[in-house]
């Protein structure tokens, strides 16, 4: 198994996969939160023009791609902030212009071969050189540090931009920083995942995490885990199966997404088999007048002899022995109703206008 570590290019590719497996979903969750899942894709398109300039001028393609992608990120953010009916079209022009320019410039440059182009577009495990690796390592560390340090602002600005402005947060600056972090992540990932597929690694692990998590923090942790498994697993698979690494990573991420979605659907079915309490206007809460009894991770409220537990916008009937028979041995409510598992669905109005 460990013979793949004998190859220097594999050590480089695995280390690069480790870095982007963490960074891509971490930055990606904020893009998903802002409903900008596809901006990473557009940045990849524009970065190809930067790569081409690097190849054509015999300078570092990574450096020129980085400069181009960051400039595009700034332009995108200002175009979006300015808004207007044509901003969507302006972004489309920028993205298609970028990839077309990249393909043509690589085509006319002496070192531009189709294999070279494919490696940039779809990733290749042999492409990450040791020199690249130090640059990637440094850039990824910056991305991780900035994202981690600013995550309360990134979350707040993406969650409710108007409120964030009202609360005095520097929303424009925060959005600009997120856009630049995305650009850097795209460039760092282009060797292993490829410019056309990098956005997938930002989005798919997050899509899977959304199906199963209950909090932002939980979703973020889960997505980073899935991103790591996809990136490292994809690189290892592509070594043995001799497949392009970018496509392999993305297919693996998709497979994980399907598995997680199935598990989440099964969980939801199981959770749906609970008993609803009768509908009442009264809302249980601390000091609501009903006796509160701790039940696992939540409170049950003793309501006319039976226990009500909040679930979504309604209440469920809970029985003391429903989850753990021995947990409430001492609380002596022998008269509690037992949940039957029947779905006593009460029509519960949810904020519709009166």
């Amino acid at each position: 198994m460990l013979e793949i570590l004998d190859y220097a290019f594999m050590r480089n590719a695995l280390l690069a996969a480790l870095l982007i497996g963490v960074a891509a979903p971490l930055v990606g969750i904020f893009m998903v939160q802002r409903r900008l899942s596809l901006i990473g894709d557009g940045l990849g398109h524009v970065a190809l023009a930067g790569v081409a300039v690097g190849i054509l001028t015999s300078s570092s393609p990574v450096l020129t791609a980085l400069l181009t992608a960051v400039a595009a990120a700034v332009a995108i953010e200002f175009t979006r902030a300015r808004g207007g009916p044509t901003s969507d079209l302006a972004l489309a022009l920028m993205f298609y212009g970028g990839i077309a320019l990249g393909v043509v410039l690589i085509g006319i440059s002496p070192e531009g071969t189709p294999a070279n182009l494919t490696a940039y577009l779809f990733g290749s495990i042999t492409a990450t050189t040791t020199g690249d690796l130090y640059v990637f390592l440094a850039l990824t560390l910056v991305v991780l540090l900035v994202t981690w340090a600013l995550r309360p602002w990134l979350f707040a600005a993406a969650q409710d931009e108007e409120y964030a402005r009202a609360a005095g947060m520097p929303v424009t600056a925060v959005n600009l920083i997120l856009s630049i972090l995305t650009a850097v992540t795209v460039v760092v990932s282009m060797r292993v995942v490829g410019l056309l597929l990098i956005s997938a690694l930002m989005v798919i692990p997050n899509a899977a995490a959304q199906a199963i998590a209950r909090s932002f923090r939980g979703a973020m942790t889960f997505a980073v885990g899935l991103g790591l498994i996809s990136a490292v697993g994809g690189v290892i698979t592509s070594f043995y199966a001799e497949t392009p690494s970018g496509g392999t990573i993305v297919l693996l991420a998709l497979a994980l997404f399907v598995v997680v979605s199935v598990i989440a659907a099964w969980q939801r079915r199981r959770d749906a088999a609970h008993a609803r309490a009768e509908r009442h206007d009264h809302e249980h809460g601390p000091g609501c007048g009903h006796e509160a009894i701790r039940h696992k991770d939540h409170m049950d409220y003793l309501h006319d002899g039976h226990r009500h537990a909040a679930h979504g916008g309604h209440y469920d009937e809970h029985a003391p022995d429903e989850h753990a028979p021995d947990e409430h041995a001492g609380d002596g409510h022998a008269g509690d109703e037992h949940a039957t598992g029947a779905h006593a669905r009460g029509a519960h109005a949810r904020g519709a206008g009166s």
Partner: protein, 266 residues
Amino acid sequence: MSPVIELTDAAFGYAGQPAVSHVTFRVDPGEVVAVLGPNGSGKSTLIKGLVGLTEELGGTTTILGQPLAQAERGLVGYVPQRHTLGTSVRASVAEIVGTGRVAFMSMWRPWARNPARSRQAVARALDLVGLGDRADADVSALSGGQQRRVLIARALASSPEVLIMDEPTAGVDHGNQLVLAGVLERLKARGTTMLIVTHELDALATVVDRVVVIEDGRLTYDGPADSLPPGGTRGHHHDHDDEDTGESAGAPVIPTARIDLGGPRA
């Protein structure tokens, strides 16, 4: 007693065009003032101006004696009008309420943040709105009325001197309106100053001390709720010559639209 909010001949609007102007009124500490008016009258422009979301275009406005432009933002807790909190990503109730603390954190000195204090403030705010036991719930699973209270808790988390709310009871069923009114009564009993834009004065009748009415970008009434002329204040003198701007241009002004003034709705 120095006022919490004081507007003198104030004007607010968008892109240099005032949507509401010549507004003079004050809100004293502990007072609860309702802002009424038809859709498109400029009342939202006015209160958004108080949190810096619309442009201040004239007159003077002070928050706790500080000019609006220089006023510390954390002094004002803003509860925007939102029909749902359904977000594009999962978030717990505590995480949403926690965004009310972010403006007080140090952006460039992460180590100087005080997460324990933030957690306490969030827990206190959730207790005040009666959602203390729902901190870890997925916010999109809450009912519409509970989500409104999450928004109130978010504003409270910054320990503001005054709460500014935009239609806190709109689109909420009757049972939840009662709960919301109860929350506002509890805040009032603690001496919280509030400025509330509403169409549903009945629902908040027990909370509101005073009413101001905005029509066609002007203040047309300022006084107790029970001496409001029936059917609003239409027919009073006001100028129509300079106000075809801002939101009033987009939304047609419906005469006497939905100023519910103690009618037998509830």
